[in-house]
Point group: none
Chain length 212, copies 4
DNA sequence: AATGAATGAGGCTTCATTCAT
DNA sequence: CATGAATGAAGCCTCATTCAT
């Protein structure tokens, strides 16, 4: 519990979006257009022209808002990761039972990935294009996400709510599951984020061998 | 059984690698070097120079073997996908119990993804760089992979071996799990492909609600 | 007369240079430099570097103005051909006697070819480098030029002003004569376009067997 | 006459084809294929692959026969020019009347250009691609051709057979006429080299103002 | 804030040519 | 002689980015 509060403090410490992600209207529109382009063609397959064209602007128009294409990618990635951290932090209720917590967190994560699957593609699969410094900064956030879930699994395993063969392995699996949603959603018959969220919550419970 | 033979016929029908992937020694070495480069930096982040340099060759050296960088990507992707189809087709034992089949198939898939995680990265995550025609061709193979697993889940659900809330959804989940291995392996404490394979087979059984 | 007005209408119909040849100052300078380079070394023997270097620009500088080297060639070729069509159309005086008309037209054509012999080389001898579509478009203009002269020969032959063994053949010959000027001018003792124009007008009259 | 014999001596001096143009069967076939390619696409627009492909050979196959692509062009150009010199030299009958000589020479030249219009294109219009040394060597032959015709015109003008405003100018014109045949033949209704030859002989007489 | 023109760097590819076979 | 593989040079073009406007 002290552990948890520390974590949330930690997360709060990370929460300084203003210094990283511009809040201006135009900058936000550019981020949206860029995310779409990156999602469709990959960072390397996207030109500044592509992005600008989606907004009816000239390629030079993004430079008052972002120092470079990579900074733009970082802004999208950072904002997305931060949102996830906040989301999962909020979804997790440290006092509640592991089962309820897992359901809440996995539902939230899955739902976000489905709803924001375009941004998700960039957030989850365009990490290699980041500069080393930015990559490191993003890794910090990703670790935080992983820890939130792992903590629940570990605590559930300790108090007997869950029966897991390998905490790290199962954590990896649940993460894979949630992360990968953005890659196929909508698809496989799913068009409603909540439906996927419900299914995946159930599947997460199965993965951890939740008793009942 | 007729079902299975149909599947294997189907897979066999797809199996015409010679017409797609050059079997020459030099061409194969280029594929390996390119796969490493693509895995590390992404297709868009890799130059033909990068690839050639890994082999101590000039940038033009790949052109007698591949018409373009994209053709090279396709060759790697095609070969990898085809290998997976063959692997899973072989691993599946149509006559056996769904539980055994699922374990066999998931083990095989996971193990391959872990062992060939470099190639796996290209196979799984560099699809958007393919030309539309090549992308379509690869999709055919991917669907085949998905079907192999889905068939087992469906049959297990029908004969009561499995209890699944949603065949398509669970299939998606198991696929996500296996596919995603290449992205983090080695990692999370795992360095032995077989260890991951065993864990994931167990997790797959949990996902399908295998009765014992 | 109706014939003539039809022709001029026709020529006017072709006269839409704005849609084809950029009117910007920079684009025009590039055309001049490129024409010189093409004339000296041929299209295939000219690099985008060559052209840019003549203007003290970087090789990429032409791309905001022309989509490709071939488009640049086309612009030069189109502008030159159009100019010729206009020139000859203007020089031809439908009401006048065939002799006077032939002198006027051949003089004008010859003078242009001599004066603009650099551009002429590109206009006349770099047709094979054009794309099929562009080639076709240029052919339309060339046919118009040929027709202007042929019409005069035919009318002169009909009214007895000329005595020609073969209208098409003589037309071909007069065209060859005029076109070829750009290849040797200045040379053969000629440095004054008007001198060549006068000579060639006289020679054209001889070719058509003008009765005095 | 002494003039003529000097000329023929001169021409003979130039006649050392063996040292320049290989007489081997294979080399000749390559020249033919190359001439076709050059004629169609220009020297710069032709690749060694293009040429080899026309013979079903690999691009490397021409190198035992020609040191370079430019040497191949030179061989074609030299052989063609030499042939012309020989042809015109033969066609010219020093003792005959200027009128008869002009008819004979122009007929021969025109006929050759029409018959060998493919080679003609290379001979006449691919001069800029030659190396400076080769260009100079070819120029010698071209001057010889020009002189053969000019001599006839001058002699005709002197003995009153012709009435020309300007010997050099008329010579230029007759040369233009003959040279340019290869560019349009077959065309303009002409498919028979002899028909063009007859017409052009008549036109040449007109150009020189032949009395009768 | 936004643009059109320009650029330096570099990318993919082609090409003429060589060489071992 | 002919070839397939390989290469160095270079070509065309694109791209992220800058800058004057």
């Amino acid at each position: 519990m002290s552990d948890t509060s520390a974590a949330s403090t930690n997360a709060h410490h990370l929460t300084t979006p203003n210094t990283v992600v511009s809040t201006s209207k135009a900058a936000a529109r550019i981020r949206v257009a860029a995310a779409e382009a990156f999602a469709e063609n990959g960072y390397g397959g996207t030109t500044t022209r592509d992005i600008a064209a989606r907004l009816g602007l000239s390629p030079a128009a993004m430079y008052p808002h972002y120092k470079s294409k990579e900074e733009l990618l970082f802004a999208i990635s950072y904002e997305g990761h931060l949102k996830c951290v906040e989301l999962l932090t909020e979804a997790d209720e440290p006092g509640a039972a592991p089962t309820a917590r897992l359901v809440s967190v996995v539902s939230a994560f899955t739902s976000w990935q489905a709803t924001h699957h375009v941004r998700g593609m960039v957030v989850q699969y365009e990490l290699t294009a980041l500069s080393p410094e930015h990559y490191r900064e993003i890794l910090t956030l990703r670790r935080e996400i992983s820890r939130i879930i792992e903590r629940i699994i570990r605590e559930g395993a300790q108090d007997g709510s869950f029966v897991v063969p390998d905490v790290a392995g199962v954590n990896l699996a649940i993460n894979s599951l949630c992360v990968d949603v953005c890659r196929w959603f909508p698809g496989g018959g799913f068009t409603d984020p909540d439906a996927v969220a419900d299914l995946y919550a159930e599947l997460a419970l199965r993965l951890v061998g939740a008793t009942r």
